[in-house]
């Protein structure tokens, strides 16, 4: 009796907090099928990781969700709204932000200015109000600087605000990208291999930052090769192989799954698990 009343109630609760839905997604490059029949969902307040060997289609999946690539089939819904085929800037304005695997900072700008660009989706000043320096444009400009500084504070780069971004170490530049993505005030944050190129200490800091981001109410989807990081912080893991989903479950189940072990270790035990 209790089970039958519990069931529907929980289902409604779950569907209400469904943030991203990916259905039957497919993307090819010529004859190569990079992503095929991928189905998954992300619920609010979770950290979900996408893992898989090189070439499994993880970054293609990301680029398709963000609108950088158009899918060949399937659909993507963000907060119940179908965003398939939308241009990236419109998706970003909905509250979906990202970082890039190989870093894509604006090297011609300072650290602070880079993060200020992140404030673009929730600000409005256009050409005319800027030329006339209208009072509300000036107020907005101050709000942008304050918000950008707050994000730099969060990632621990407040002291570097006014240096050219190209002058920072790789690890710090990764953090600038994170701050820039957070400055968009996202509800879903996509991190493409955030730990690649970071040393152990930096990776630990990153793990702490990601957990704090989740605790502040931002849902996180990440692609990552660092298994210890993934296992530590993820609530759910989706494993891809040759563009197809293998398993989508919690870390413990994934760790013990025979198929996952076979994919990563190839059946013989002479390779490290990544």
């Amino acid at each position: 009796m209790t089970a039958s009343t519990d069931g529907p109630v929980r289902n409604i609760a779950e569907s209400a907090e469904l943030l991203l839905e990916v259905r039957n997604l497919r993307r090819c490059f010529g004859g190569l099928v990079a992503v095929d029949a991928v189905n998954f969902t992300i619920r609010s307040g979770r950290i979900k990781a996408v893992i898989g060997p090189n070439g499994a289609g993880k970054t293609t999946l990301f680029n398709t969700i963000c609108g950088q690539l158009a899918p060949d089939a399937g659909e993507i819904c963000f907060e119940g709204r179908r965003i398939t085929g939308w241009p990236p800037y419109r998706i970003a304005r909905l509250g979906l932000s990202r970082t890039f695997q190989n870093l894509s900072l604006f090297d011609n700008m300072t650290v602070l200015e880079n993060v200020m660009i992140g404030c673009h989706p929730w600000t409005h000043a256009g050409l005319v109000s800027s030329v006339l320096r209208l009072p509300w444009q000036q107020r907005e400009e101050r709000a942008i600087v304050a918000a950008a500084r707050a994000q730099l504070e969060f990632v621990g780069l407040a002291a570097h605000a006014d240096v050219q971004v190209g002058g920072l170490s790789f690890g710090k530049r990764r953090m600038v990208e994170l701050a820039r993505a957070l400055a968009t005030r996202p509800r879903l944050l996509l991190l493409d291999e955030p730990a690649s190129g970071l040393n152990t200490k930096e990776t630990e800091d990153l793990a702490a930052s990601i957990s704090r981001i989740r605790d502040s109410g931002i849902t996180v989807l990440l692609v990552e090769h660092d298994m210890s990081l993934v296992m530590d912080i993820s609530d759910e893991i989706l494993v891809l192989d040759y563009g197809r989903p293998v398993i989508d479950s919690d870390p413990v189940t994934v760790r013990n799954d025979k198929n996952v072990i076979a994919i990563y270790l190839g059946g013989d035990f002479d390779g490290a698990p990544h």
Binding site: Q68, P88, Y89, S97, F100, N108, H120, G126, V131
Partner: protein
Amino acid sequence: MKRRGTVFALFAYAAIMIGIQLLATGTGHEYYLTQLIMTAYYTLVVLGLCLVMGYAGQISLGHGAFFALGGYTSAVLTTLDLNAQAATPLGRALLHIGVLMSRQSLYGEELTSISPWVAFVAAILLTVVVATLIGYPTLRLHGHYLAMGTLGFGLIVYRLLLGTNFTGSADGISSVPPWQLLPNLVISGSSAHRVPNYYVAWTLTGAALLVILNVVHSRTGRALRSIHGGERAANAMGVNTAAQKLRVFVLSAALAAVAGSFFTHYNAAIGPSEAGVMKSVRYVTLVAAGGMANIWGVLIIGSLLTFLSLRGCFGSFDHAVFGSILILIMTLTPEGPLAPLAAVVRSAWRRLRRRSEQIPGAADDSID
């Protein structure tokens, strides 16, 4: 703060312009002002192009054509013979409200044509429409499609002007009337109006400078620079890159048309060479020589080189000199010849401030 620096620089700009005029008049070289007036209008084009090239990272090889479009629109409309139309009731009404204007032609006859103010507005509107038509398809693509599109556009405009009787073919249009800006301020090439025209030209360029500086130090300016820094990332951060590029390209084309319109009234004539591809290449060269994303550098280097060229200092080696200057600047100081100088000034300023900070209360102005 940045703002205080800008205000100071604008005061310096005004002071230098007044100084040059007083010097030229005082030393009996007032005829230099003629080239300086033309320099101001060409510099206006270069400053507008700087916004597109230096900040948004898009190359336009059509700014000569936009300048010509503005100039020719003014020239054609203000030299139209509308004597017959002016006799109708509608014509009389338009004459009364100032849309039409009567004047004595060269042969002493009464000639009615469109007022320079109306022609000026028409020139800007036409340029905005044309720039949108060219920019819309080419700026949606990544890469140098704008350069290709505008190069083709420039060639077409040049050939059309050269081959159309309506625009005076190779001779262009002369006897463009003076433009009565204010009751006692006329845009005209006669030497009696030289000094006021000098101030009109450089005030116009100064106003454009202020507009461009305000754009650069704003959300829009940042968005433009982010497009230059990485279009894909800019898009992912919510910047509608195609729309931003188009808007700034149209603004910059409109500035070129404004310059062309004033220039044509000042010279009382315009010819097809203004639309020539070499002119457009010249503008691009001047932006590069000034340091690309460096408004003040582009202003100083652009106006200096333009003035020397107009004075004929480079003789028949004009293009060669420009080419050499570009190569030298690109290899020696890619950020513009003023960048090393600015670095020296900045470090001296910082040293000065550090010294004044040691005296308590001496420096409480916060500098970003």
